[in-house]
């Protein structure tokens, strides 16, 4: 005689063997199955037939398990890249701290940003950790499906982080990025010694103030997905060109000053911002979410019962 509870127990064992976790989602699936069996029996089917139909409808254990695995694999992958990003950030923080201690506490010549010895002693470490951090931040944030954050938003976040960091580091002539920004504001306001600044130079240095302000606007624009994509793209390119021009102007000008790491990180933030506006704003993607499942399940299911 058919024992429905025994059949439920066997079905549960199959599900557990396939890797379906308990209590969630196994309880959910089992209660679904029980609801379906009850409905089938109410419509006149015998218990055995009702159970057979309901188990057929709910699908094969391995198929369901595979679908759940896709979610957990995605989570594991995202976690891996977050750990990667964390390691990169820590490495970069330690390098910057040691470099600053070397420069301002121990007064080591090799710790002077961009000096000849600095390139040999410090640059490899910066290059490794900055690369680590950028790769980690772009991929980790891009893959973080829980928030629905896209690659362009990941780039924008990396740009924002670089932008903030650049304010804390020496940017030009051992002045921090913040000092340089304040200096540019003075130029814009024509305060103090800048009262007699020629118009050409006034507009050029004021342009850096505009760059910083537009950076914030374009950063927000990426996160809230505003329209005017093409305009944003061109504007971010213009900002990048203005910021990068400083390296050239400084190199050829009569009052050349040593550029600090802060300037290059500031420049990097504009590269990333331009990249963020260059990447198409992927709205909701079906393919990421559903297509693999769509390909996986039907064939075996149908072939089993055909």
């Amino acid at each position: 005689m058919f024992d429905i509870e025994k059949s439920f127990a066997e079905w549960r064992t199959q599900m557990l063997a396939a890797g379906i976790k308990t209590p969630v989602p196994l309880v959910e699936l089992e209660n679904h199955l029980r609801d379906d069996v009850e409905k089938e029996m109410l419509s006149g089917s015998a218990a055995e037939e009702a159970f057979e139909k309901a188990t057929r409808r709910i699908g094969l254990a391995w198929e369901i398990s595979n679908e759940f695995d896709k979610t957990s694999k995605g989570q594991r992958s995202a976690k891996f890249w977050w750990i990667w990003l964390w390691i990169g950030s820590c490495g970069l923080a330690v390098t910057v701290s040691m470099n600053l201690v070397g420069r301002f506490v121990l007064h080591r010549g090799s710790s002077l940003f961009l000096s000849h010895q600095w390139w040999a002693d410090w640059f490899p470490s910066y290059a490794v950790w900055i690369s680590f951090t950028i790769i980690g931040s772009v991929i980790a944030i891009g893959r973080w499906r829980h928030t629905g954050i896209k690659v362009n938003q990941g780039l924008a976040v990396a740009a924002g982080a670089s932008f903030i960091l650049s304010y804390l580091l020496p940017a030009a002539d051992d002045e921090s990025g913040t000092s340089c920004f304040i200096e540019c504001w003075r130029v814009l306001a024509r305060s103090g010694r800048y009262q007699i600044f020629p118009f050409g130079w006034w507009s050029y240095y004021s342009g850096f103030v505009a760059c910083n302000l537009f950076f914030v606007l374009l950063f927000v624009a990426i996160l809230v997905r505003t329209p005017l994509v093409r305009a944003r793209r061109w504007l971010s390119l213009a900002l990048f060109l203005q910021v990068s021009s400083w390296a050239i102007v400084n190199h050829f000008s009569v009052w050349t000053m040593p550029l600090g790491i802060g300037y290059f990180i500031w420049l990097l933030s504009f590269v990333l911002l331009f990249g963020a506006h260059l990447v198409p704003d992927g709205a909701v993607s079906y393919s990421n979410f559903l297509a693999p499942a769509g390909n996986a399940s039907p064939t075996r299911q149908e072939s089993r019962h055909s």
């Binding site: 679904h32 029980r34 379906d36 679908e67 979610t71 829980h146 909701v284 979410f289 769509g294 039907p298």
Partner: protein, 115 residues
């Protein structure tokens, strides 16, 4: 969930998320009820393998588009109820816009064929 007899599997797969979100926009529901509602509304033409609904619901939950709570059925069994979150409503309206656009383009093209 994606076994389609009348409607092709790709379309069934692509429509799963907007359909689930739209159903949940009417109020909280649970897996079995969602499946039944889809069957009724599509007059049986949209076939889902029931068990495949749950990974999709869990992914929607992971993406913070829906939230869930455990409750009890009339028979006293534990039942997980899903409801829409605010980002889920935004995602749903985006789906509606996209599907309406596809529909209107198709409808216009069809109309032009008979002019």
């Amino acid at each position: 969930m994606y076994r389609a007899s009348m409607i092709r599997k790709e379309l069934v797969a692509a429509s799963a998320e907007p359909l689930i979100l739209s159903l949940l926009a009417k109020g909280e529901s649970y897996g079995y009820a969602i499946i039944q509602e889809i069957k009724t509304r599509s007059e049986g033409k949209l076939h889902w393998t029931d068990g495949m609904l749950y990974p999709v619901l869990h992914r929607l939950e992971d993406r913070k588009l829906v939230k869930s709570r455990w409750g009890e059925s009339e028979t006293g069994r534990k039942r997980k109820y899903y409801s829409l979150r605010e980002p889920g409503k935004i995602a749903m309206s985006r789906h509606h816009e996209e599907w309406t656009l596809v529909h209107s383009v198709l409808a216009n093209l069809k109309k032009e064929q008979y002019v």
